[in-house]
């Protein structure tokens, strides 16, 4: 069938790397990240903006990649879960999630981790209630959230401890 949706060339910056892709305007950022760019760590759980599994950072803000068209992301800095660990070492949020058993099947995990980064950037020292409010746009079907809240709290604590001048405790 002939496409009635002509493609546009766009440049995307993902985890600091640039990618030139040719996409239909209707194509979502999530699909382009997963298929054209090949970064499948970003998951699709509902494709209507409720579950949060596809959360990525767009210029530092958490967005649902299923609700953004790729053409809208041109020129922005996009961060996905693949960009966090360096040389095989988990970053402090990832480490906190494994230390506190904050994941089971792993399907919501990328979204949870990216949301945590955005949350802690805004509020580096959240209470448990603030963490729950910050996470309530990300669904998890396995953990009951108890260990995810612990993970986020531990990530905040480890970021604080790592700050210059922080006292070792």
């Amino acid at each position: 069938m002939m496409s009635t949706h002509p493609k546009h060339p766009i440049g995307l910056t993902v985890n600091g790397e640039t990618h030139d892709v040719l996409v239909e305007p209707r194509r979502t950022l999530a699909d382009v990240l997963r298929e054209e760019v090949g970064l499948t760590g970003t998951k699709l759980g509902c494709e209507h903006g409720v579950c949060g599994a596809c959360t990525v950072l767009l210029d530092g803000s958490a967005v649902r990649a299923c609700l953004v068209f790729a053409v809208q992301a041109e020129g922005a800095e996009i961060a996905t879960v693949e960009g966090l660990a360096e040389e095989g070492t988990l970053d402090h949020v990832q480490q906190a999630f494994t230390d506190n058993h904050g994941l089971q099947c792993g399907f919501c995990t990328a979204g949870m981790v990216m949301t945590t980064h955005a949350m802690l950037a805004e509020n580096p020292d959240p209470t448990d209630d603030e963490i729950r409010v910050g996470l309530n746009g990300n669904l998890c079907r396995c953990t009951g959230y108890t260990n995810i809240v612990r993970s986020v709290s531990a990530a905040a604590a480890s970021a604080k401890a790592a700050q210059p001048g922080a006292r070792a405790s």
Partner: protein, 807 residues
């Protein structure tokens, strides 16, 4: 050599007895430890590959055309509307797959009528979402466009919808399967003991008619299948988000007429299953069929809307009970009717009886009954089929039983804790054969209840509840005790009321360098098997878990078995790994004995060093021994490969526990806030407490979802009204309070290692705990919970603030 079972961790149930010698496993260092999960890094870095992440050269994308009508005849599908048909777009209808045998249940029960399900509907559709055609194109977006066009080109003859069980059994009702002559596919009564005498002797009879809501697994990853057929090798490879890869291989081979050794099924990472991905989805037959027909890889990834329409749903039952009791609140007898609303097909694997039969058999739970009449029935309705979801049948039974126990207590002026103690089995009465012939192996029913009640400080709660009630605030406490049938094998399935055969194996192999590969037939989808089985193998062989790799999910590398469902993996996988590891340990010790010129019985293994007991200097490393075992003809055995495969079909084991929920109900808005959840879990020998507690967290949250939010709603016209996550409400982080889990340990005297299954108890118990908490809070209004979920409108009806018409 020391071989011990773990000691009970707290308040041990008396009289359980330790496992017999032949059931013991090594638990030297790793079993029982809070070992962090070895599988986590790939999930945390985005490197875990689920089926949607997989790509094959020349891969096509499939999109379904599904029925918009609950009940209709398919008159025609006009594929000519699609430009590029046969060159860039391909269509498959039921007629194209007419030679594929329909899917059918395997339950060996008399009187159960069968409802063969074509993998794509041929003449009739029986629910909104029933498959009518599949469109295939090179791009998902193009396939969606074509499916939309084709969907408008299907002509139907609409038939009267059957939206519920009452309509299904009304005189003159339209029939889903005309040849059966009825929509009711099963109705049988079993009597245990003399209920007539018990009811005649009763001081009181309590009654309840309860509608358990239809809700479902809704895993974060929807269903998905990728199939690739290599024509020259005649080799089919199927990647599916399944809990049962080997079973699926057998089914696909049978359905498509392929030799089984030419079918390979791979379960890649699976993003949650919760029972839903154990049954064979028709799509798991259709997509491989298309891949074979086209000779190209074909991928189908269900979207969420499609999932909420077409994937199996669960738990809907109508349960009516009469309960005969004494003035003291002693339960004498129950007459119960359990009616399943099965949906459009009595689904493959376990039939529409999966809910009502399992509910009826498990109903007695932790309580003694002198007599029990159980009527089990199931009807077809024009809704998505009902199949497995965590706590199948057991959830509904536990919900209605624990609600009625509270109502009896309230009616007779007995405390809800006290009435449970008066009726519960004591640990020293176990093993105990329940009135439905379920053999409870061991347990801590009273102890679990007491520990939960102590933990929430019951007396202080009652004082605060009374104080706040004066101020017009309504606090409630709900108790839900449970017995959880686990270890699903031949015995467990027979005791559950739906007999099915079972077969599972694990292979443990020590490599020439001394590292260990464990291949298991269970199939993980979030439960941490790579860690838990590594702990078992590490203890079995005397190595560290860093030296163990666990593999599963690929029928070409894992031994045959039935996968993971019904809380079977810890018991079956754990036992087969322990046994195989014990066999390989003996093989290693024989070679080491040759090398060290000692008797195998005099050798110990610790941290991968094999030494003579009492002479630690006389030793070899595991790597040295393994190398010699493979390569050194002087010391190796006649069958030098260091490997063993062991089988286990376990006896049923029964975990138990108690969930207590504290809530506050806003009488003005009808909203329910959960303040605290305490869970006591007793699953015998624990392999990894961290994983066990997290399973409880997740299961309870799903149960709370069913109690407060989740329901697949269908209109009287049979149309589904909850087809997005804006309508089908899954609990979020702000809906759930922190969940506290405490453990007791009553090892099974029957299973290898004393291990019991677990993971469903939270789902089984939580709905009743929530319902009882709300009923307790609303006791001043005389509230009696008769349906779930306890959404605000229903809570306001219970209070009397609004009438039935207003919700």
């Amino acid at each position: 050599m020391t071989e011990t079972l773990p000691a009970p961790t707290a308040a041990p149930a008396a009289g359980n007895g330790l496992a017999a010698e032949h059931l013991r496993i090594r638990t030297d260092k790793w079993i029982g430890k809070r070992t962090k999960r070895v599988e986590d890094p790939r999930f945390l870095t985005g490197n875990a590959r689920y089926v949607a992440d997989l790509v094959r050269p020349r891969m096509l994308h499939a999109v379904y055309v599904r029925s918009p009508h609950p009940h209709a005849r398919i008159v025609s599908v006009d594929t000519s509307v699609l430009p590029g048909l046969g060159t860039s777009v391909w269509v498959f209808t039921g007629k194209d797959l007419a030679d594929v045998p329909p899917l059918i249940d395997h339950v060996a029960l008399d009187h159960l009528l069968r409802t063969p399900q074509n993998v794509i509907a041929v003449d009739k559709v029986r629910f909104v979402g029933d498959a009518v055609a599949v469109v295939v194109a090179a791009d998902r977006y193009a396939a969606e466009d074509a499916a939309e066009e084709l969907g408008a080109a299907v002509e139907y003859e609409v038939l009267p919808p059957i939206p519920n069980v009452t309509a299904a059994n009304a005189p003159g009702a339209a029939l889903l399967f005309e040849d059966l002559g009825t929509n009711e596919i099963y109705r049988q009564t079993e009597r245990h003991g003399d209920s007539d005498a018990a009811f005649a002797a009763a001081d009181h009879v309590f009654e309840i008619a309860f509608h358990h809501n239809r809700y479902g697994a809704a895993p974060m990853e929807t269903r998905g299948v990728l199939a690739d057929y290599e024509r020259h090798d005649k080799q089919l490879t199927v990647w599916s988000s399944t809990q049962m890869p080997h079973f699926l291989r057998s089914i696909i081979a049978g359905q498509l007429g392929l030799p089984e050794h030419r079918v390979r099924v791979i379960a890649p990472e699976v993003g949650g299953g919760f029972g839903q991905k154990m049954c064979t989805s028709p799509e798991e037959i259709v997509i491989p069929f298309i891949a074979v027909a086209l000779g190209r890889p074909v991928k189908w990834i269900e979207d969420r809307h499609e999932h909420l329409l077409a994937a199996t749903q669960a738990k809907e039952e109508h349960i009516t009970l009469e309960v005969a009791v004494t003035n003291e609140g002693k339960l004498l007898a129950v007459r119960g009717e359990f009616v399943g609303d099965g949906g459009g097909y009595s689904f493959n694997t376990e039939s529409a009886l999966i809910e009502p039969a399992l509910a009826a058999k498990s109903f007695p739970g932790p309580y003694r009954l002198d007599a029990y009449d159980e009527t089990v029935a199931a009807s077809l309705t024009n809704k998505s089929p009902v199949a497995a979801y965590r706590g199948v049948g057991w959830t509904a039974a536990n919900t209605v039983r624990e609600i009625v126990v509270d109502e009896i207590a309230r009616g007779l002026g007995i405390d809800p804790v006290e009435i449970r103690h008066r009726n519960m089995l004591h640990a020293d009465e176990l093993p105990y054969r329940s009135i439905t012939e379920q053999l409870y192996d061991s347990g801590s029913y009273h102890e679990s209840l007491d520990l939960a009640i102590e933990t929430v400080d019951y007396a202080a709660f009652r004082a605060r509840q009374a104080e706040l009630r004066e101020q017009g605030r309504y606090l409630g406490l709900g108790i839900s005790s449970y017995v959880e049938q686990t270890a699903w094998g031949s015995d467990s399935s027979a005791q559950a009321g739906t007999p099915l055969p079972s077969h599972d194996n694990s292979t443990v192999t020590v490599d020439p360098s001394g590292t260990v590969t464990v291949a298991v037939s269970t199939s993980c989808h979030g439960q941490g098997h790579e860690t838990a089985y590594a702990q078992i193998a590490a203890d079995g062989l005397g190595v560290g878990i860093g030296d163990v790799k666990v593999i599963y999910g690929d029928t070409e590398s894992a031994p045959y078995g039935l996968g993971t469902y019904a809380s079977r993996s810890a018991v079956i996988g754990g036992a087969t790994v322990a046994r195989a590891a014990a066999d390989v340990r003996e093989q290693i010790l024989k070679v080491a004995a040759n090398m060290l010129e000692a008797n195998p019985e005099d050798l110990t293994i610790d941290d991968s060093v094999i030494s003579v007991t009492g002479a630690p200097g006389v030793s070899k490393t595991m790597a040295e021994v393994a190398y010699a075992a493979y390569w050194d003809s002087e010391v190796r055995s006649d069958e030098p490969l260091l490997t063993a495969t062991r089988f286990y079909d376990p006896p049923a084991t029964y975990a138990n526990g108690c969930v207590v929920v504290l809530c506050e109900v806003d009488a003005g808005t009808g909203s329910v806030t959960l303040d605290r959840i305490v869970a006591i879990e007793d699953c015998g020998t624990v392999i990894n407490p961290m994983i066990v507690e997290a399973q409880v967290h997740g299961a309870i949250t799903q149960g709370v979802g069913g109690a407060l939010f989740e329901q697949f709603v269908y209109g009287d016209d049979g149309q589904p009204q909850t087809t997005t996550y804006m309508d089908y409400l899954v609990p979020t982080s702000t809906d759930i309070p922190p969940i506290e889990v405490l453990s007791l340990c009553s090892p099974s005297p029957f299973s290898i290692g004393g291990i019991k299954g677990m993971g469903e108890g939270g789902q089984i118990a939580a709905p009743a705990a929530v319902a009882n908490a709300v009923a307790d809070a609303l006791a001043p209004f005389g509230a009696k919970v008769r349906e779930l979920p306890l959404a605000p409108d229903y809570v306001l009806r219970l209070i009397g603030a609004i009438g039935a018409d207003e919700s």
